[in-house]
């Protein structure tokens, strides 16, 4: 039952004896994928807040809550993967300052405590005060606790909330860049691995994060509208897909640049990396990441945004494109994490990877970690409704 999804070919060439087992498996693919969604969703929220893209108002709060839900789950795959999870907090208690990974705890804590939670609190404070007065039972007390005692909803106080929220968002943008750029740095700074070692890695991760986060929020928005039987704000999704196209173009250009650069430099490792792409990553890189998860949704979004399509078809095109983008970005994470371990550092052979089905690092655990943020998001949405239908109605009126 275990080790069902077998990789493609047997071992080829020579690998060092200790390279037989892949060290970072499916869960480590999830980790950059989830943090990417966080960073992307937050940057989307900041477009509305800081850059005054008012068309994105319907997804602003939803983006913040999505970022929080994904951020809460992001460290779990890492923890599950550790040989000694019980020692995980040593990274915070006694960090090794030269380690990129040790900084994760601080970047994460900063982003969670200083950026996301504070921003959401300032943004929702007036609503929370209102809800603490209007609800009954246990929830009343939950909201009362969430006000943290700040129940002043005078115009002056609300103005302060707005200014504070804006300031936090301004701090949050470089923080979001740092959060995911740093994840790219974890891989890009490994000079032992020619597939990872690239100065472009952090920025490629960052833009792919923006792409995946925006697409995820667009998907969540469309699905929640369908569940709530509310009309989808077309100006919002149009604007969102427009930004998505720009982000995808930058992302695609950067990845292409990285590819051309490697090919042109043609270093010692180029031979084995060529074999890696041809023999091991053809499906996940060429087919899933570039064609199905990259070019096809880009074409779909361009057609949806700039083509003359009826709204219903347009929505469908956006939806399918965003699903394909998730497939593409997940494949990109897979190709980086798994691909980087499928060739020997002796540059003489390729190894194989088998996805385990069971256990902490298995396929079912990974699916669980993908579903968990959606459950958390459902709870958050119930607790702190992000809907701005009234705004839309007013705007329409």
């Amino acid at each position: 039952m275990d080790q069902v999804i077998s990789a493609l070919d047997p071992f080829t060439g020579f690998i060092y004896p200790n390279e037989y087992h892949l060290q970072w498996e499916l869960l480590i693919v999830l980790y950059p994928y989830l943090t990417g969604l966080v960073a992307g969703a937050f940057i989307l929220a900041s477009l509305e807040r800081v850059f005054q893209v008012k068309a994105l108002l319907p997804v602003y709060r939803l983006a913040l809550l999505s970022a929080l839900a994904f951020l809460m789950v992001a460290p779990l795959p890492l923890m599950s993967h550790l040989g000694h999870p019980e020692r995980a907090l040593e990274m915070l208690a006694t960090p090794h300052t030269t380690s990129a990974m040790a900084m994760f705890g601080f970047v994460y804590a900063w982003y969670l405590m200083v950026v996301l939670l504070v921003e959401i609190w300032f943004d929702y404070r007036a609503d929370i005060v209102h809800l603490s007065n209007s609800t009954k039972g246990v929830f009343k007390y939950v909201y009362k606790v969430l006000t943290l005692g700040a129940t002043d909803v005078s115009p002056k106080a609300l103005d302060f909330d707005d200014k504070a929220g804006k300031l936090i968002t301004i701090i949050g943008i470089p923080s979001a860049f740092m959060l995911h750029g740093y994840v790219g740095f974890i891989f890009g700074s490994i000079k032992a691995n020619p597939w990872w070692s690239s100065v472009l890695m952090p920025i490629v991760f960052l833009f792919s994060a923006i792409v995946s986060g925006m697409a995820a929020v667009l998907l969540i928005y469309m699905v929640t509208c369908m569940i709530r039987w509310k009309p989808i704000d077309m100006s919002c999704v149009n604007k969102l897909s427009e930004f998505l196209i720009y982000a995808m173009l930058v992302d695609f250009t950067l990845e292409f640049l990285d590819f051309i650069h490697r090919l042109y430099e043609s270093e010692e490792s180029i031979h084995i990396l060529g074999q890696l792409i041809a023999d091991r990553l053809f499906l996940s890189l060429v087919i899933l990441q570039v064609l199905i998860g990259g070019l096809l949704p880009l074409f779909g979004l361009v057609m949806g945004r700039f083509g003359k399509l009826p709204d219903e078809l347009r929505r469908m095109v956006y939806f399918i494109s965003c699903v394909l983008i998730q497939v593409g970005i997940f494949s990109m994470r897979w190709n980086v994490v798994i691909g980087g371990q499928m060739f020997s550092k002796s540059l003489r052979g390729l190894t194989v990877y088998k996805v385990h089905m069971l256990g902490f690092e298995g396929l079912f655990a990974a699916i669980g970690f993908l579903i968990l943020p959606l459950i958390i998001l459902t709870v958050l949405v119930k607790l702190l409704p992000p809907w701005v239908d009234k705004h839309s109605e007013k705007a329409a009126a």
């Binding site: 060439g13 020579f14 690998i15 060092y16 004896p17 200790n18 390279e19 037989y20 087992h21 060290q23 970072w24 890492l78 993967h81 550790l82 040989g83 000694h84 999870p85 020692r87 995980a88 040593e90 990274m91 006694t94 960090p95 090794h96 030269t98 380690s99 990129a100 990974m101 040790a102 994760f104 974890i186 490994i190 000079k191 032992a192 691995n193 371990q341 020997s344 550092k345 002796s346 540059l347 003489r348």
Partner: protein, 279 residues
């Protein structure tokens, strides 16, 4: 009848003979003993010379266990032209350090390189070379073939130490890279960062594991197990800070290279007579 004079002569000869025998060897006995002593002396001299050679590899100043100081900087050298690929080093390492049995948990291993006149270089290391190497049939004419023992390079600029998030992997004052198994969180970042594939995840302890230069031995003035058992003295262990150390002699009189020098890890396992194909 013997005359008085002759009697006197005979008695004088007897006396002189007695005196000579009292003194020790006569010329004849001396020559006889000398000739007999030659083989025994040669044997002793030969033994003495081997004995010196064997003991010359022991670092002079570490005969008793003591805390590490920066007065030492341990390193290893490998003469590839001497390695016969017997795999005793890899086996001794497994036994000495309780390295998990199996071909994918190796602190040290031996690679066989077969370089044909045309086509790709063939490298293998079945079970790290512990069970020897099977015959290889190549169609092409073989240009060169040799064995390369591999182990942790105990880099002076170790990437594994740099990336460890909790500092569980560290460099001792005497230049050895170790893992604190009671502190390692098992994130495996160090395994990814090692360019030499010298680290593995210990399947029972769930921590990163690697060669320690047999730190428990060298801190008592003994040699690492792999060096101790090498039948051809292909491995030389010593202290870079001691001019009397055999590694100094080795580095002085051999053409030396290290593995992947372009990565600036500054390895402290030095290879003599290593082919450019060795990675």
């Amino acid at each position: 009848m013997i005359s008085e004079k002759e009697k006197n002569q005979n008695s004088e000869e007897n006396v002189s003979e007695k005196t000579e025998s009292k003194k020790g060897f006569g010329r004849r006995e001396f020559l006889d003993a000398f000739l007999k002593a030659i083989p025994a002396g040669m044997t002793l001299l030969t033994f003495g010379s081997w004995n010196n050679k064997l003991h010359a590899q022991t670092p002079d100043d570490t005969k008793t266990s003591r805390p590490p100081t920066d007065e030492n900087n341990y390193a290893m050298a490998v003469d590839i032209s001497k390695c016969i690929g017997c795999g005793r080093c890899a086996n001794a390492c497994k036994l000495e350090n309780h390295v998990p049995i199996g071909p994918h948990t190796m602190r040290t291993w031996v690679e066989r390189y077969v370089i044909p006149s045309e086509g790709e270089v063939v490298v293998d290391s079945p079970n790290g070379g512990i069970d020897g190497f099977p015959d290889q049939q190549l169609d092409a004419h073989i240009l060169r073939t040799f064995y390369v023992p591999k182990l942790c390079n105990h880099c002076a600029n170790p990437p594994c130490v740099q990336v460890c998030p909790v500092g569980a992997t560290f460099q001792t004052k005497d230049g050895v890279v170790l893992v604190d198994e009671k502190y390692c969180v098992g994130c495996r970042y160090c395994i990814q960062a090692c360019p030499y594939g010298a680290r593995y995840m210990h399947p029972e302890k769930n921590v990163a594991d690697k060669c320690t230069f047999c730190y428990h031995r060298i801190s008592k003035g003994m040699l690492p197990a792999c060096v101790e058992v090498c039948p051809t003295q292909a491995r030389v262990f010593g202290d870079l800070k001691k001019r009397s150390s055999p590694i100094h002699h080795f580095l002085r009189f051999n053409p030396i290279r290290t593995l992947k020098p372009e990565l600036n890890t500054r390895p402290k396992v030095f290879y003599a007579n290593a082919d450019q194909e060795v990675r």
